[in-house]
């Protein structure tokens, strides 16, 4: 049993088989010996909860786990529900998945964001992700040039 503690003091107990999905934690486990609680200072409790939820569902299937294993289609459906999140949570999750080094979660989140971006104008992307247009007048000029055609 491994215990993780989030930046805001929440603790989460995980089976080792789930904990090793988080590569960063796996490395810490191999280095530390007697530590009972592993601090995760970069990640808030509610985000860590979501990360753990994902890892529990995606834990590598051993012979024992096979009985409870979800089919690929079920897992995909679960993933589609999982990513129905507001952009702020998505951002925090991406940062957490990166810090905790969970490749499959990072892939899923990056694909989700890419799908939100495809085909959209820059202004739309700013609105979706609540980003401010912070270009200097010089940069603005360059952007304008890149984004226009002078038809002959």
């Amino acid at each position: 049993m491994i215990t993780l503690r989030s930046s805001d003091g929440e603790t989460f107990d995980l089976d080792e088989v789930v904990a090793v999905e988080l590569q960063t934690i796996k490395n810490m486990m191999e280095d530390r010996c007697a530590e009972s609680v592993i601090p995760v200072p970069n990640v808030e409790g509610k985000i860590l909860a979501k990360v753990i939820e994902y890892c529990k569902k995606h834990v590598k299937r051993t012979a024992k786990a096979e009985e409870h294993a979800l089919s690929d289609a079920d897992l995909k459906a679960w993933d589609s529900d999982f990513i129905k999140l507001d952009q702020a949570t998505l951002f925090d999750l991406i940062m957490a998945a990166n810090y905790l080094d969970i490749k499959s979660l990072l892939d899923l989140l990056c694909q989700t964001v890419a799908d939100m971006i495809k085909g959209k104008s820059p202004e739309e992307i700013r609105k979706i992700f609540n980003i401010k247009n912070d270009f200097t007048p010089e940069e603005e000029k360059e952007i304008r040039r890149e984004n226009q055609w002078a038809f002959e």
């Binding site: 951002f91 971006i117 202004e123 992700f129 247009n133 952007i143 984004n147 226009q148 055609w149 038809f151």
Partner: protein, 376 residues
């Protein structure tokens, strides 16, 4: 509280890798200052126009021009009641200058409406790339007229290059009807002798080159020395000209039936049949209904669109080019040589008879140049 503009570079690049069109990357670059710094200008390492032959810098030569077929739409917040679109084909020639070409033919648009902006800012819109078209042209030829006078020949060209542009392959249909290949570093085109009937069409699909001959027999061309052709589907009986088109992630073949075939000059298309590939049994299977899809069979390229996102009119139809529509002695205009075929009822006719389908091509919709949309 950090926001998306503070996303670290390597994470932003992970996301950018999953965007596979030039315009999506451009949009991403145009969002904020840090993203602009992190994201490269272009996926495509090769410019829109670059020399193919010869390799020793003499005064003549061939260029390959790349044109993009784009679907422009208003961003969602601006949407009016109709699902208005503009379908264009753009050739980005010398830096900052572009040509607007009819998406299906080679007709160039020169006479824009009076208020049309001199510098057209496309970042105001949703831009989707529906396909690419490649044309071989003689060096020092600047595209000017309706027909591609500078073109080597009328054959279709398909092209593929590695992600860093250090190797490329071009496949084309030679005047003899044979397949011809050109690889980076070659001195001339290599003819491929293996197809028994003349080649009708080529396509680069799912990372491979496909070629179909006049009988419908379809092969995959594996690039090598020598190139190897593997059978993908047997011949079909029936029509006169086969075309390959990608639709909804699948490879389709369209068989065009002509009457009045006089040496390919006065051919009138009278019917179309559409086939889907059964990869396991290696046959083309006819499909009766395209559902929400619209197929476009242009002179030099084929592509498809989803009707509900495209023009708001019904799918299950084909835009096609037909020289039969060229009027005698009249000036070519935007709709010349283009027709619509409805798979549902077999109705067909020149584009001018189908205003809902014609208006996505020309004239440019008013929302494209009225000023109520802010720039980048």
């Amino acid at each position: 509280m950090a926001g998306w503009s503070q996303l670290p570079k390597d994470l932003l690049l992970l996301i950018a890798q999953r965007l596979n069109t030039h315009f999506d990357l451009l949009s991403l670059r145009s969002v904020c200052s840090s993203w602009h710094a992190f994201i490269p200008y272009s996926l495509h390492p090769l410019p829109s126009r670059f020399p193919i032959l010869p390799t020793n810098g003499t005064s003549w030569g061939l260029y390959l021009s790349r044109r993009r077929i784009l679907h422009l739409r208003l961003p969602e917040s601006h949407c009016q009641s109709t699902n208005s679109s503009w379908l264009i084909k753009v050739e980005e020639d010398v830096p900052d200058m572009a040509h607007l070409v009819n998406p299906l033919s080679t007709f160039q648009f020169r006479h824009f409406p009076p208020n049309f902006p001199k510098n057209f800012a496309f970042s105001r819109f949703r831009v989707s790339e529906l396909g690419q078209e490649y044309v071989l042209q003689y060096m020092n030829h600047r595209p000017s007229g309706e027909a591609d006078e500078g073109s080597l020949h009328k054959g279709k060209v398909t092209f593929s290059c590695t992600s860093n542009g250090d190797d490329f392959v071009m496949l084309t249909i030679h005047v003899s009807g044979k397949l011809a290949m050109f690889r980076h570093g070659n001195k001339k085109l290599t003819l491929i002798d293996d197809m028994s009937s003349p080649c009708d069409d080529l396509i680069f699909f799912n990372g491979e080159f496909y070629a179909v001959d006049n009988t419908g027999r379809t092969v995959v061309v594996a690039i090598g020395s020598p190139p190897v052709l593997s059978l993908v589907a047997d011949s079909v009986s029936g029509g006169n000209k086969k075309s390959l088109v990608e639709s909804n992630g699948e490879l389709l073949m369209v068989d065009t039936y002509f009457d009045h075939v006089i040496h390919g000059i006065m051919e009138r298309a009278v019917r179309f049949k559409v086939f889907k590939l059964d990869q396991i049994r290696r046959v083309w299977v006819e499909i009766e209904n395209l559902g929400d899809q619209i197929l476009f069979l242009g002179e030099k390229s084929t592509f498809s669109a989803v009707a509900s996102e495209f023009c708001g009119c019904a799918g299950n139809c084909i835009y096609y080019t037909n020289s039969f529509f060229f009027p005698c002695g009249q000036e070519d205009d935007a709709y010349t040589g283009i027709g619509i075929f409805n798979l549902e009822n077999g109705n067909m006719g020149p584009l001018s008879s189908f205003p809902d389908y014609a208006k996505v091509i020309w004239p440019p919709p008013a929302w494209v140049y009225t000023d109520n949309i802010r720039g980048v």
